[in-house]
């Protein structure tokens, strides 16, 4: 099969899966609406004031969209970081980039930015700056003559992540201790419905980051051969790395600003896709966008169902699956190195 045909097949399959999971997500929930009531709300036959209309259209649908966008963005950010570092374990939360972005968001909240569209854009700018700062620090710490060592990169990510998490705790404890409980909850990563305006902004930012990564998919393939080989094949490696940094930081920053630091999506989804489709970034990047969305939506549906009517943080679910996944990948990688 040609790459184009494989991409079309994979995207069709993932889109069908996304539709199925979204259908499930819109029909289940702690309000226990009947399927008929949900269908009435979806087709506009329920009055705007009715419980089924509010629950379906104002709570479940926007939440589904946020999960799809956030999951897609995180998976694409994972692919970008993995391509950039040539390391399948690189991922926004493992690299500490999510924590950097979260620090930016907390500063934005302390400054007083709220939820309107321009304010959300400002919050994202803070998150983006935090993500760049964290990613840049990790890069500087881990770069050694001869490239990035796996262990150093992971350790640098962990350390930078811990540093920014502590900075958040200090900031909140000093400035607004009443919010400490809420912030700790937010740090676990939650998908919540957001209004149409900010949601559109979130989608646009995520698409921007996605486009930037996709446009460099071929060059990422060449970079996988090694930096020297890539340069010989005409890739401006420094420029490519800078752009991947910016793209992945933008994607991570947007997700953290609109949903919070959700971990491991960027690890699990690209790895599964590589198993199914191989290492071609022209296939990985678009399928990660859809696949990441499906994964996070499924995780969020679990998060709001498992202990209903209370809710779990979706980041707890993704970490629950992600941590064992990480260990298996790490073991495999060590075996390959030894």
């Amino acid at each position: 099969m040609s790459p184009g045909a494989r991409l079309a097949t994979a995207l069709t399959a993932l889109a069908l899966l996304a539709a199925a999971v979204a259908a499930l997500a819109v029909f289940v929930g702690s309000a226990e609406l009947s399927p008929g009531a949900v269908a009435r709300a979806l087709t506009g036959r329920a009055s705007a004031e009715s419980v089924e209309a509010i629950v379906t259209l104002d709570l479940r649908l926007p939440r589904i969209l946020v999960a799809l966008v956030a999951g897609g963005a995180l998976a694409v950010a994972g692919v970008a970081f993995q391509g950039l570092t040539r390391n399948p374990l690189a991922e926004p939360s493992v690299l500490g980039v999510s924590s950097g972005a979260a620090f930016g968001v907390v500063i934005a909240q302390v400054v007083g930015l709220g939820a309107s569209v321009p304010e959300a854009l400002g919050t994202t700018a803070f998150a983006f700056a935090g993500a760049l700062l964290a990613a840049g620090s990790v890069w500087l710490i881990a770069t050694a003559p001869g490239g990035l060592a796996v262990q150093t990169l992971l350790l640098a990510g962990v350390i930078v992540g811990i540093f920014f998490s502590s900075a958040i705790t200090v900031l909140i404890s000093v400035l607004d201790v009443n919010r400490l409980g809420g912030v700790i909850h937010w740090l676990l990563g939650n998908v919540a419905p957001i209004p149409a305006g900010p949601l559109a902004l979130f989608g646009a930012l995520a698409l921007g980051g996605f486009w930037l990564v996709l446009a460099h998919a071929r060059q990422l393939n060449l970079l996988a051969l090694g930096e020297e080989a890539a340069v010989q094949l005409g890739v401006d490696a420094e420029r490519l790395k800078r752009r991947m940094f910016v793209g992945a930081a933008l994607l991570t920053g947007a997700v953290v600003a609109f949903a919070g630091p959700i971990g491991f999506v960027g690890l699990i989804v690209p790895h599964l896709l590589r198993g199914a489709l191989g290492h071609d970034h022209r296939l990985l990047v678009p399928t990660a966008l859809v696949g990441g969305g499906v994964f996070l939506l499924a995780a969020d549906t679990l998060a709001r169902s498992l202990i209903a009517p209370a809710e779990l943080s979706v980041g707890v679910i993704t970490a629950f699956f992600g941590a064992p996944f990480f260990i298996v990948l790490l073991r495999a990688r060590y075996r390959a190195v030894l």
Partner: protein, 300 residues
């Protein structure tokens, strides 16, 4: 009974208990000074605050309470009302399905994110806040006004004020006793100046050795606590609130501190925190328990 029938039953009770419909819109100011506009007096209230739930019951307004949190466990009848989940992570859709015309919440324990969502959904939200004993009476008056049960307010407020005053008078002749109140043992967290607990300890004839800290619930050094030679140590018992062993008072650990006056004289006590930490109608009960621990001689 399924949740749907429970909700329907609650609706039926609420409807039956309604006095003649009053249609006037009203604007009230909540405890944070925000204006809350209600199209009509609330008839379907969801309480996200255990103290408020207790106050609603104490005022006999429970027919209008249609939802609560998992932490609203008192009076026992409150557990029969549908819950929307925890204080930090309530389910918005469960809440919406209860069709509330008012949600009472707090900035101490609920999340700002929840308030944003409620505003987006157009559900009026009344915020409460309590860290003084005076707030208990204020809350009674405010909840009474929201429930349209002003007639019940005076009786309840009088009883509460009288019981508090009786304790104050009973302990007045005795010298103040140095008290260490342990809110959480490890890390050591204690009530500071801004906490209602500090005020209750003083009303009970004690002097909280951690009152100098300006925060509400500071972390405290065990060394500093021991150095201030507390004559009574009171351990908050969280077990009734959650049941996990982490919140058990663990007195063994404290008994080793034999140089502390409280330990030498065997004055190590534990107390159920739900009667002390909520700014609801059980505050006098908490205060009486506290006073009997601090000044047993006053109640012989």
């Amino acid at each position: 009974m399924s949740r749907v029938t429970r909700v329907l039953a609650a609706v039926g009770v609420a409807l039956a208990a309604l006095p003649a419909a009053r249609a006037e819109a009203l604007t009230v100011r909540d405890m944070l000074g925000r204006e809350v506009t209600l199209p009509r007096p609330p008839e379907r209230i969801v309480s996200l605050v255990p103290s408020v739930t207790e106050t609603i019951y104490a005022l006999g307004g429970e027919a209008r309470l249609v939802g609560r949190t998992d932490f609203c466990d008192y009076p026992p009848a409150a557990r029969l009302k549908p819950s929307v989940g925890g204080m930090v992570n309530p389910s918005l859709e469960t809440l919406v399905a209860l069709k509330p015309d008012l949600v009472v919440a707090t900035d101490e324990g609920n999340r700002e994110e929840t308030f944003h969502q409620l505003r987006r959904l157009g559900i009026p939200t009344y915020l409460v806040h309590g860290n003084r004993v005076a707030d208990v009476l204020d809350l009674v008056r405010r909840v009474g006004a929201l429930l349209g049960r002003e007639d019940a307010v005076a009786a309840l407020a009088d009883t509460l004020a009288r019981r508090i005053d009786a304790v104050r008078r009973a302990v007045a002749p005795y010298p103040r006793v140095r008290v260490l109140y342990v809110l959480w043992p490890d890390p050591l967290i204690v009530p500071g100046r801004a906490s209602m607990l500090t005020e209750l300890i003083e009303l009970a004839g004690g002097e909280s050795i951690t009152a100098g800290d300006g925060q509400a619930y500071p972390r405290f050094s065990l060394e500093a606590a021991v150095a201030r030679a507390p004559e009574v140590i009171i351990l908050a018992d969280h077990a009734t609130a959650g049941g996990s062993t982490a919140g058990r008072p663990a007195p063994e650990k404290w008994r080793q501190l034999t140089s502390v006056p409280a330990i030498r004289s065997g004055r190590l006590h534990s107390i159920d925190l739900s009667i002390l930490h909520r700014y609801g109608p059980r505050v006098p009960e908490g205060l009486e328990t506290l006073a009997r621990i601090i000044h047993p001689e006053a109640f012989r």
